[in-house]
Chain length 788, copies 2
Amino acid sequence: MTETPKTPLSQQELDVFERWWRAANYLSVGQIYLMANPLLREPLTLEHTKPRLLGHWGTTPGLNFLWLHLSRIIREQDRDILFVAGPGHGAPGVVASTYMEGTYSEYFPEVTRDEAGIGRLFKQFSFPGGIPSHAAATTPGSIHEGGELGYSLSHAYGAAFDHPDLVVACVIGDGEAETGPLAASWHSNKFLNPTRDGAVLPILHLNGYKIANPTVLARIPKGELEALLRGYGHAPIFVEGDDPETMHQAMASAMDQAFASIREIRNAARAGDTPSRPCWPMIVLRSPKGWTGPKTVDGLKTEGFWRAHQVPVADLAKGDHLAVLDAWLRSYRPEELFDEQGRLYDDIAELVPKADKRMSASPYANGGLLRRPLRLPDYAMHAVAVSGPGQATAEATRVLGGWLRDVMTANRDQANFRVLSPDENNSNRLNAVLEATDRAWEAARYDYDDHLAPDGRVMEILSEHTCQGWLEGYLLTGRHGFFSCYEAFIHIVDSMVNQHAKWLKTSREVPWRQPISSLNYLITSHVWRQDHNGFSHQDPGFLNHVATKKADIARIYLPPDANTLLHVADHCLRTRDVINVIVAGKQPDLQWLDMDAAISHCSKGVGIWEWASNDRGEEPDAVVACAGDVPTLEALAAVKILREQMPDLKLRFVNVVDLMALQSPEQHPHGLPGETFDALFTLDKPVIFAFHGYPSLIHTLIYKRANAANFHVHGYREEGTTTTPFDMTVLNHLDRFHLVSNIVRRVPRFAARTAYVEQSVRDKLVQHTRYVREYGKDMPEISEWRWE
Amino acid sequence: MTETPKTPLSQQELDVFERWWRAANYLSVGQIYLMANPLLREPLTLEHTKPRLLGHWGTTPGLNFLWLHLSRIIREQDRDILFVAGPGHGAPGVVASTYMEGTYSEYFPEVTRDEAGIGRLFKQFSFPGGIPSHAAATTPGSIHEGGELGYSLSHAYGAAFDHPDLVVACVIGDGEAETGPLAASWHSNKFLNPTRDGAVLPILHLNGYKIANPTVLARIPKGELEALLRGYGHAPIFVEGDDPETMHQAMASAMDQAFASIREIRNAARAGDTPSRPCWPMIVLRSPKGWTGPKTVDGLKTEGFWRAHQVPVADLAKGDHLAVLDAWLRSYRPEELFDEQGRLYDDIAELVPKADKRMSASPYANGGLLRRPLRLPDYAMHAVAVSGPGQATAEATRVLGGWLRDVMTANRDQANFRVLSPDENNSNRLNAVLEATDRAWEAARYDYDDHLAPDGRVMEILSEHTCQGWLEGYLLTGRHGFFSCYEAFIHIVDSMVNQHAKWLKTSREVPWRQPISSLNYLITSHVWRQDHNGFSHQDPGFLNHVATKKADIARIYLPPDANTLLHVADHCLRTRDVINVIVAGKQPDLQWLDMDAAISHCSKGVGIWEWASNDRGEEPDAVVACAGDVPTLEALAAVKILREQMPDLKLRFVNVVDLMALQSPEQHPHGLPGETFDALFTLDKPVIFAFHGYPSLIHTLIYKRANAANFHVHGYREEGTTTTPFDMTVLNHLDRFHLVSNIVRRVPRFAARTAYVEQSVRDKLVQHTRYVREYGKDMPEISEWRWE
Ligand SMILES: Cc1ncc(C[n+]2csc(CCOP(=O)(O)OP(=O)(O)O)c2C)c(N)n1
Ligand SMILES: Cc1ncc(C[n+]2csc(CCOP(=O)(O)OP(=O)(O)O)c2C)c(N)n1
Ligand SMILES: [Mg+2]
Ligand SMILES: [Mg+2]
């Protein structure tokens, strides 16, 4: 490794660095406290301060310090660096730096680069009509929301993949480091390829505290910490202390060393000279929480303690608090930082990198700018030949895998598509993708390994969190991806989905943010076909979760077979700024629609299957509706039983692919107009609905519809274990027999015949249960059932 | 550390160990494959095998190996050991071992200890009407469900806390180790006190693979792995290889060493001799996946590779598969293991520890047996004095904190109560608890630290997953706990809640499982009062999530003030086997009910507040309903406006504390009977409902009710940012003004006056928005609003 000097900064540089940092800190504190008198040109009074003091100071000086030192590297080495602030609650710092870089005024012209602009910058922070207290989509240069902690490092890796010139500097809070998602994501370095990917420079910000506790990593012996970081595969560089001058020199030196090491790793790899996984550098910044803030407040330790986390001195009317604030603000000597007009002095401003190189203006942070649409090969080439309903069998996700392989191939030279899964790619039957690429793997490999390679584009780590974080980072920086997951365990990322949905919603309101690719999920190994597993793997509630999100963000599709799945997947990969959830089975299943029918059906979202209906020209006695592959099968089987047993019963068969179409158009952009919905589902006939998920979800979606009270939904009732596929439906009353009995029961003109039908159904169910318990498989009449 | 011999087993012991292990492996394979001919006394035919081959072999031989060696320690050292199988999908192994210990036959008498019993043991596995393929509540000796991976280690710690004599042996899959929750939970050792708590012995099972990939930890250099484990604070003991004899000796020696070290740490600590946090031992078992299984199948590497994960040889009708299975099964030489009757030979059976010492019969694994009820001090002592509605102000959670402090004190000598939070205990204003105890902390401490102590009972780590896992482990082994969390981020544990709910549901159906304490959540820092934070912290969807769970498991309470919160919390801490979610604010808020009224109101769950209603003796024009503290305030303010502006409007005011009471009694045990519900909410009057969460949840709960179509719900619409409290309600139309306009609009006889009311409301809203944007706080008429 190149030797780097220990004191790389000249005295003059040191001086202006020190002033930059003071300015950034001043602007940060100002945002938290001031709504007038921004440059303290008058004596500070209570009236200048905000009535509600909201924000987080503790982490801020560290962020400001790092921003400054990363900018030096950019200037000196002409680097592309993206800044990810794990402690995004340190928004006052991030915002201050982006303001000092001028970007803020470019994006928000009213926040001018003068005293009035500083006044506006201050007032708007954590203020109604202003900006939130966390880094968010409104923050220039940010792809990372300050909020739920734990995702900075996986976001950073996602951003670095396939961006060979980029270095993502990722500040990780020592509190954040305690979270599961963060702890897991350290191992991302086993999936990053120095040849084709950028680099991630983790910076562990060991300020010792979180909200009201010390942090674990700050309170273990240094040897243990170093072992841990080496165990993660990093070479840590420690920068520790609190004396600004010494710390500036130490940090400059650490940065030089880290970036030299990154350059060496890159060069070696790109020269074809990487015998083994590189040991990437990282930086540990151990500095006081709330550094440069008040040492004590009311006699209690504040700087270097958790009391500095939010607003270190509040209740400004109390005791000496206003004086403490005044002294604190003036300790930065604003008059040495801003000129008469309130502009940064030139020598300070000269520290700003040029144009797009400014971290606040990085196009990587506004991924829509970089995004190129995916090249999508014709999915019809993968169509399953279906000569008539139920005349073919296919594994839907395996068919999809074939198309995804072609997508992979078509976009190989664009290097902007990855497929992710928590060790389930093959289990989810997307194996074919591995014909076009490998699984990314930078750790040791053996000759008997299967499709592992450093430049694979299938990303598999047994962490739903890490997969999700990688994907978000990848999308947010302008690329495309596809995430397949067991249905039950996608709940693991519920909260990450929330945060991403919030990001999307906000970014749509930010004029300079360009749309990014949608977050696409394939939810498979679903509740009804958990053959190798049991109750613990059965949970369709992710749909409920997604359905609570802002309507124009959430989309849910339940294609009933392979051809509809192909169509839906193609559609989803074309969309932007939404979250698409596709639910589809992986088991061999009957196929219903040929490609033309599939296209026509999916384009409508909800449609009558005429071949399964016998109400043409008449009012139906009941509507049999379904959504999901297994429910569709059972609903069709129910219809067939009724056709045979009660040919005079008029049934309409409706299949729902686009679940949100059930909502009203005011609720969701996909919502069917009232007339269409009423025409399909009638105004007053019973609707027996076989649904993939929890029945409550259907009721939630349709409660505004005229016929809502007549919907009777069969779905998952939280019953089940390791059993046969059909038994799962029986346990939850989603099977054809329960459907039959419910349909018949709801049609008044058949009241007299209900008892007999119900009895035959009960007989069947008894027979079924005895059979499966004896033979361990479904009755042939079930497993070999065909539509015709 | 005591020197332990490298080959502790005599040749004779080795021999019987080897046979035990063969027997356990044989019984495991038999469960996966056989439904007849259990001891292979006839030539194996296809008919003897199951039609559907379901299960996981790969991890199983390792589990069997470890079970055997832990049992040796129990026998030789008279230890209490609890076994946690992280890879709980290795149920065939766990079940085999519990069968060999006799426990299985004690709990399931039909599974006798003879050939017929083995036949039943085999057939029932992954078979309809039998047992699931994962360790579950049905598995003797287990507190840990095999399903979603990642929670073994936090469960283990939860079980060890306050069980000073216990050692929890926790097998961690190397795949599982990649998950976030598992990665975070290694640091649990900074919260375990060797004096009062038991010990956890992590056993990392490095079998190299997960479903279809190698594992990260198996493919990094050994030095890196060792550094990582030392970084976690452990002294790892490596047991590596595949030769059974050598491995038995190595494992016996490793166990001796580990338990000697545990004993030394304990003794030192309990002799008052612990200068610093101990370095606990752990074991790394590096052995082939599917050890002793077929080396290859169809020419492909199987033993020692991921192909061994599930059913290594399937499609038994194909090629030589049946012969491969036959040879595999016979390689264990069942005739040397089971006598004529099919009973384990005596010398093997003698390896079983006695009675309760058997891991399969550990009372720690059936926590309800050990559970002692909490001593609950009188919460009325903490009542806020409320002379009339809105005549007092209090911070509800702070009041609760006072009572929790007393609960802590009352149970100190029982040592069976802990309070958990992800670094938010004080932020959630439960500070008072720290007057009765400290925060648990075994890492370094400084003199200025605040309430940190090795024996604290407030557990704070910045990992919702770890808190949840600890609490589950603590409850499952017979104790009590209380988890407080920010509302938005409790979603992080959505999937863990699912798994626990499933455990509870199943365990209720297992006759020998005793009820355990409920999982109690206080959800605070809720969506409406995220003052320091913004949009990222606003999500009330955990309620939707919990509401999807099996009805007799889920309870949701929204106490509107401090006294109702006290009552609800007291109730929850008395319940068993359910999940209680309490939502309550932490900000100073108006108080409505004195203690008597609170008790009466909460006992009903839903009730009319007569003092806020003016419909007595008449039909109301509309019902104003509310659930949650902020909605209650806004609903009351709306009523007050209407009283003044339209005194002839007859309104009934209904407050909901027990949300599930809205469901019908068939749906939920708390559901109000139809007549009661209809009496409260009328059959046909508009119900304007101000709700804490997403409006859809109310519609979901009430869709079966007669008056469902007349419910108009105001709640969270996914709008918000850092702003004033009242502005949050305005952004989401939950505020008094939007409520007023909706109420008036719904009452036909006031149609003529609607326009004027709406106009005055709109004026107010404009005024509000201008005010907050100028002053950054709510208008005095809002912030100083009082009921009277
Ligand atoms: C997952 C999650 N849990 C809890 C919180 C609440 N919270 C906000 S800041 C914070 C402490 C963060 O500490 P650290 O990461 O060390 O940041 P810093 O010290 O730099 O402020 C916590 C617990 C959160 N934001 N996210
Ligand atoms: C959170 C989660 N994600 C995915 C799965 C699906 N899954 C089941 S077993 C398994 C591999 C487990 O590997 P490991 O922990 O090494 O266990 P072992 O090798 O001992 O079988 C996976 C990914 C799961 N059970 N849980
Ligand atoms: Mg910190
Ligand atoms: Mg493994």
